[in-house]
Subunit: 140 residues, 2 copies
């Protein structure tokens, strides 16, 4: 089985768990595609173009998804003081309430994985993936 699919399986499992938890917690108006953009917003806010790059979609698509997130109160757009053309997409009130819910599930799933793999192997996995990121992440 190829490494790509082998990477995808646990990724998908993690994503499913996080979505299920968000839905249970009442954050049921966010779609997977929106969440993939949302999780890439920096603490201080991120430009639409940057979000589009990180999520590997066009800026039109990113704009469409941010529109939805904004309507639902998860993010807000504020003018970028550094550039009159740009606006920063920032986490808004409802988004801020969702973040700890998602973070808790991520921690829970990672703990389950660690219980299955052992602490050392889990740490090694994280190290290896970080190293792999150096040659596979075009944006950092």
């Amino acid at each position: 089985m190829n490494l790509g699919l082998l990477l995808f399986i646990p990724y998908r499992a993690m994503e499913n768990r996080v979505f299920a938890a968000l839905r249970s917690a009442g954050f049921d108006d966010v779609t997977p595609a929106q969440a993939r953009v949302f999780q890439r917003i920096d603490p201080g806010g991120t430009r639409l173009t940057d979000l589009a790059e990180r999520a590997q979609v066009t800026k039109q698509t990113a704009g469409f998804l941010v529109d939805g997130l904004e309507r639902a109160g998860y993010v807000e757009r504020v003018v970028d003081p550094a550039d009159g053309r740009a606006r920063l997409v920032r986490v808004a009130a409802r988004g801020a309430r969702a973040v700890p819910v998602a973070a808790a599930v991520v921690a829970e799933v990672e703990a389950e994985w660690a219980a299955h793999l052992g602490a050392a192997e889990t740490a090694a996995l994280r190290d290896t993936l970080a190293k792999l990121r150096e040659i596979t992440d075009p944006y950092r």
Copy 2:
């Protein structure tokens, strides 16, 4: 950075490379969603419902994607001798020609990763992911 995203980054890189190679080789009429279904077809053929489960989409969606693959000559549907209700989705001529192209790129990318990580760490990564699959893959 959470493990989910860390898994996703190299997965996406692999997928992008494979698609680029397929396009270059003239297989430019297959979409990402179709390919995600295609790569899950067993050597002897797979039922639509099983494909849907493995790709984690509804059977309607899987049917829609298989329709496209069938029209383009990548797969064919044959009656399942074991069950009159079912039909097996099998790799057809054009699909069979695409498989080695994709396999070659997968091997190439894996070799690049091994060059960056070292052979031992690459092997460990594969082992760990296989182990992780035991608790994250609902379908096997």
